[in-house]
Symmetry: none
Subunit: 265 residues, 2 copies
């Protein structure tokens, strides 16, 4: 295992030398889509591209141009003549398709595909994406262990090839966090370390309510309790930092400055 | 509720007239990316596009060409001059960004964002995507309740705009299946239905900051921007009800009453 790669939030994305799925583009048509697919792959840490009989030959300058910063994937892409050859060293293969087939082949949902791939990745896994116009043929799909299908809008279900690859690459990266607490309800995890202690908040409330009392804000008196709640509830919910509490203390001071002198009824 | 839309596997994708998040492209640069974003949105059933000050004006022929079958989204896109206006009718707003900020703003994980959006969608939700080059500014992000961040490769983290939108649209569609046999804790129950629309909050900020300007609070002037963020971030996070916003307007009025007469240096 190599060094851990971390993202901007400090979460472990992947090990540098960890095995990963091969993305296999079957008879892709447009170089631009191949290049854009490379970008989407590399964005989510995938680097192994395989091409089966690209229509416009290989290499393809249109692919280079679109790949931009991900051109290393273009350079290391492996070229094959048939799907059989492209999957020869793999032991688990998916076929990405939106079309229901008459084939007796299981369907893997997007919410489990990452885990499924990770469980099998050390013995070689890959995923087939079909050509832009027609998608994978039944002959291609039958080479796969399972179908991966996205919950697409049936009225507009033809995904751009690069975007389809992009979603898979995302699912792969995301699955690295599953079972690591990121999928529990605590979605505020790892955010702020310096939430103000409650006593700061209490002092803020005291200060604010004292000034509001001075200003005759709590009228009628019978409603004071309710009005206090409307002040305290949202400010408590806001989980303010100490700096933010200080800012609010400053606000009250600034707004109340000299106010007493002109106090109303 | 209208008719159920089903995908090719017979799963319910969405109700035809179900409320959905607005996708808000902030100062997008390339028409091609706007068009490609439309495709990704419609693939996963999202149709509400908002544009804030697109660099090359609007309409934009490059966007039309790229949108292909999703050109209806181009035609119904709403145009705004500022982010404030674009989010005015929403009560929960996310900011998509890969950069860690010094802002005190929670982070929502990709595995809960769909559920989170669905829980709040009936009172108006949206997500901000920044311009291609620079992404969202802090001033943009502070308008949001939370940051959405993808588990991107830190060595190649700049996602193409359309692909970033594509992943979000996918997450939205996918979340429709969650809890259907996945045994997800229903922790969003009891979410408040009367969260104030964002325009109420904007008016509150304007009012507060006007009074604070009067009071000489923003000193030194160079720090005004930062101080504003410290005011806006927690109050946005608080997801205040309309009653609570009214209470805060009252607080400012009460504290500022007569203050001007004794204004200090």
């Amino acid at each position: 295992m190599g060094k851990a790669i971390k993202d901007q939030l400090g979460r472990v994305i992947e090990r540098e030398d960890a095995p990963q799925p091969a993305v296999i583009l079957v008879r892709p048509q447009l170089g631009e889509n191949i290049g854009a697919a490379c970008r989407g792959m590399l964005n989510f840490g995938l680097t192994e591209l395989r091409l089966v009989a690209p229509r416009d030959g290989w290499p393809n300058p249109a692919a280079d141009a679109m790949a931009a910063g991900a051109v290393e994937l273009i350079e290391t892409a492996k070229l094959f003549e048939t799907v059989e050859e492209a999957v020869a060293d793999l032991s688990y293969v998916l076929a990405a398709t939106a079309r229901r087939r008459e084939l007796e082949i299981p369907v893997v949902g997007t919410n489990v595909v990452g885990r499924e791939m990770r469980a099998k990745v050390s013995s070689g896994v890959g995923i087939l994406f079909g050509p832009e116009k027609a998608g994978l043929t039944n002959a291609d799909v039958v080479m796969a262990d399972a179908i991966l299908t996205y919950p697409v809008n049936p009225a507009f279900q033809s995904l751009n090839l690069a975007q389809a690859v992009n979603v898979f690459a995302f699912l792969w990266a995301q699955s690295n966090f599953e079972g690591e607490g990121m999928d529990v309800p605590d979605y505020f995890e790892g955010v702020r370390s310096d939430v103000a202690p409650r006593e700061d908040l209490t002092r803020l409330f005291d200060h604010m309510e004292e000034e509001l009392d001075e200003a005759g804000f709590f009228f009628p008196a019978a409603k004071k309790h309710l009005m206090q709640q409307n002040i305290r509830a949202p400010l408590t919910r806001a989980q303010m930092s100490q700096q933010e509490v200080r800012t609010f203390r400053g606000i009250i001071k600034a707004l109340a400055k000299g106010r007493g002198k002109a106090r109303g009824p």
